[in-house]
Amino acid sequence: MKFSSLKGYAFLYLVFLYAPIVLLPVFAFNSGTIIAFPLKGFTLDWFRDLFANQTLGLALKNSLIIAVSTSILSTTLGVFAARAGTRFKFPGKPGVMGLIMLPLVLPEIIIASSLLVVLLAVGMPLSLFTVILGHTLMATPYAIAVLNAAFSSLDRSLEEAAYDLGETKWSTFRLIILPLVTPGIISSALMSFTISLDEFIVAFSLAGKETTLPIYIFSQLRFPKQIPMIMALGTCLVVASIVLLATAEYFRRRGLAKTGAKDTGGFL
């Protein structure tokens, strides 16, 4: 009895989780201009609007530039930190790691406002670059969390063995460590990419006159006329993120199969 009621609750909870997502395509293909039931009829107009929208195209391009840069930067910084954290002992390590991981427990508005204050104080003009700086700061702790798992499962004697067999420290890193942490690096890159692509408040504060995808969406949500197009955009984003997640899962499984490690669950 208890089992089935818990299962029923789980089902309701999934409905709660997915309701907003499921409604996206419902209204994206609905020909009514007002987001309300009953539905009017089927249309592709909103998707047509979407792909014809040049401001949106520019915002998307900006967001992709920022997200790709953030992904590369924070994963690189994450590799350094995860390697240092899992392989070396040094005095003051908890403090150093604490500072680096701090953005995880800071409200985003604090990160946004402190960065804004400093960037204005040193006279750096707000641009896509300043958004990349902010997003990298935010995404690095997540990258480290993912990479830590990958690096800490490395047996230290593997690198000693390579070193012992005549390789240098650098070639050991390239031949042994890097291939073994590649699934972690891919997960980290995807995660940072997604965090950056979706981030609003830091971008909103640091982008200056530039527009990113979330800034554009936020600006359009005020206009009821634009909402059906936003629904179409949301639908596309959902599909894109599912494809991205499936890819990530595929790489993770392949990495596991290659090294024969045990499956310990999702890449989260």
Partner: protein, 374 residues
């Protein structure tokens, strides 16, 4: 019969392969190696034996170059190694975890160290195949390394280290992860392999039996120091301290009273055994406390059955406990006049009954098999 027991050049006449000169190692305040000095000869099978934390693995890693020493010197083949990195040393290592690269095949693992080798691809492939054959893994080259069993990983690790023809092969507890049967099989194979390739093997182990079976010489280590360095037989028969005696096998101890010394002999009075004398050679070991004790191994005593005569001496005793092991029986017997029982091991022979607890008996012993710790 293989060349297991083949006659080889005596150790002393061979070249020095590894020399430790007053090696010290500190980790912060912790003094891990306390002035190690020793010489390992060419072609020797040398073991570092001791409990965990005694510094044996640290000492092994100073040979490989994974640990910097704080003072002193490590020489390999006459050359000071202090500024030589691990990848430039003529040593290769078999790791406790085997450290098989999980993303490579068996063949790629074995051939890993040949990357910088100028030989042609075909020649390298041949070398890999030969190395695999040597460890009994012929034809395994294309397999995924992570799919191997423990014993097979061990062999891959050996082949991978030996393919570079090092002057010294270092083995860090290579058999500890294997189960008993495979471990015993691998012990024999390792000895054969060492005879075959003829290079120096340095083995770290905490298993005294393994060290006794495999080694030419053994260094027993406690707390960063070598307590005794000797061949297995000397170590077993003439441990130089009560601690070494305790660590290697089982030894019985009885308090002894020293009556006097004369003409290279020490006169003793031992409760349960009576008065007798031992040679100075037998009396060179250190006791752990102030009280002198005599020690003897369980198999140096024999329980006498009805009608049997002792070759040397005998002492009356009562059987206190019997533990039956199939091929052996362990008896704890109380010598008359001694409260603590001593252990005696007897091989079970057809037609000879296992004795019951409480049986009165006589124990045959010989002063020559004793060690005096003082």
């Amino acid at each position: 019969m293989t060349q297991l027991n083949a006659a080889r050049a005596p150790l002393d006449s061979r070249a020095k392969m590894i020399e430790f000169h007053e090696v010290h190692k500190y980790y912060g305040d912790y003094h891990a190696l306390r002035g190690i000095s020793a010489t390992i000869r060419e072609g020797e099978f040398f073991s570092l034996l001791g409990p965990s934390g005694c510094g044996k693995t640290t000492l092994l890693r100073t040979i490989a170059g994974f640990e910097d020493i704080s003072s002193g010197a490590v020489l390999i083949d006459g050359k000071d190694m202090s500024d030589v990195a691990p990848n430039k040393r003529p040593t290769n290592m078999v790791f406790q975890s085997y450290a098989i690269f999980p993303h490579l095949t068996v063949g790629e693992n074995v051939g890993f160290g040949l990357r910088r080798d100028p030989r042609s691809k075909a020649e390298k492939a041949k070398a890999v195949e030969e190395a695999l054959e040597m460890v009994g893994l012929k034809g395994y080259g294309a397999r995924a390394a992570h799919a191997l069993s423990g014993g097979q990983r061990q062999r891959v690790a050996l082949a991978r280290a030996l393919i570079l023809k090092p002057k010294v092969l270092l083995l860090d507890e290579p058999l500890s992860a294997l189960d008993k049967k495979i471990r015993e099989q691998m012990q024999v194979e390792l000895i054969k392999l060492q005879r075959e390739v003829g290079i120096t093997f340095v083995l770290v182990t905490h298993d005294q039996e393994e060290a006794l079976v495999m080694s030419d010489r053994i260094a027993v280590m406690f707390e960063g120091e070598i307590a005794q360095l000797a061949d297995p037989e000397t170590l077993y028969r003439r441990p130089n301290s009560r601690r070494v005696a305790d660590f290697i096998g089982v030894m019985n101890f009885l308090p002894a009273q020293i009556l006097g010394e004369a003409n290279g002999h020490v006169q003793l009075d031992v409760g349960g055994l009576g008065r007798f004398e031992v040679t100075e050679e037998q009396a060179s070991a250190r006791a752990s406390g102030a009280e002198p004790v005599v020690g003897f191994r369980p198999e140096t005593l024999t329980i006498l059955y009805e009608g049997q005569q002792a070759h040397d001496r005998e002492a009356p005793a009562t059987i206190d406990e019997v533990v039956y092991y199939g091929d052996m029986t362990y008896y704890d017997v109380k010598l008359d006049g001694v409260a603590a029982p001593v252990r005696i091991s007897m091989r079970n022979v057809f037609g000879r009954p296992v004795l019951d607890v409480g049986t009165r008996t006589r124990v045959a012993w010989s002063p020559g098999a004793l060690v005096l710790f003082r």
